[in-house]
Symmetry: C2
DNA sequence: GCAATATGTGAACAACTGTTCATCTGTACC
DNA sequence: GGTACAGATGAACAGTTGTTCACATATTGC
């Protein structure tokens, strides 16, 4: 009877609880996109960029000046934020003005700030 | 007059906008903690753990079983989540039951899910 | 005490990340 | 056209991250 894996190979597990959760788990691609979104917000430079853009539309060199970093570094980060649709870009002559892509970002950011500051 | 950096060394910048944002920027330690919180949520394994714990209180081996990963890997991740106060631990005999630390986490998670799924 | 079990933890390793540097594209003005 | 400037991008490098493995700790039941 070495078939009975619930007893032999798997340690004690609350099968009913686990199955309940398993039934509710989101599809893998949703989880991955969600994790990617959080990860992108999880770098201090990008966190600051998002905050800055929640206040004002800014161009690359504005942000670089504000955060005392190179234009190149900021441009790289903005591309990452653009790819995840967290910010959008508006070209005006030589300048590229960036702003938050939608209101969800602002709310998400505020909730995070709440969690960190309230305590 | 090589003091006038606004003209000589810095490229064109919307000084008023930048100064406005600079005045509103949160202190560095707040930003860093905020970024850390997002970063911790930004790994698929931890994202799944947080989701699972938003449904049920679970022990280490429950989660390991659910996600088909080693107990050790889950334990490591849980420590990271514990350190950031995203989950809390309740010992019962040999078992360690984990659950979300407070309601903020759930809300933060739901906002993220909203952003990812709505579109 | 001893064996079994559930979890915790340090070291180590491959994989990934953020910045810098050099270079490229595209626009504005002469 | 040519020069100057804002921004974009690929390669490369150091630093960080997540998992595995081996072992440690702590609790239970004999």
């Amino acid at each position: 009877m070495e078939e009975n894996k619930d007893v032999c190979e798997i340690k004690f597990v609350n099968e009913d609880k686990v199955n309940k959760v398993r039934g509710l788990l989101k599809p893998d691609d949703i989880i991955v996109r969600l994790a990617e979104t959080f990860k992108v917000l999880g770098d201090p430079t990008r966190t600051k960029i998002i905050f800055a853009l929640s206040v004002e539309e800014l161009c690359v060199c504005d942000i670089a000046h504000l955060l005392d970093m190179s234009d190149s570094a900021i441009s790289h980060q903005l591309r990452i934020l653009r790819n995840l649709r967290l910010v959008k870009c508006r070209k005006e002559g030589k300048m590229a003005y960036y702003s938050l892509d939608d209101h969800h970002i602002n709310e998400l950011f505020d909730r995070g700030l709440e969690h960190v500051t309230e305590r």
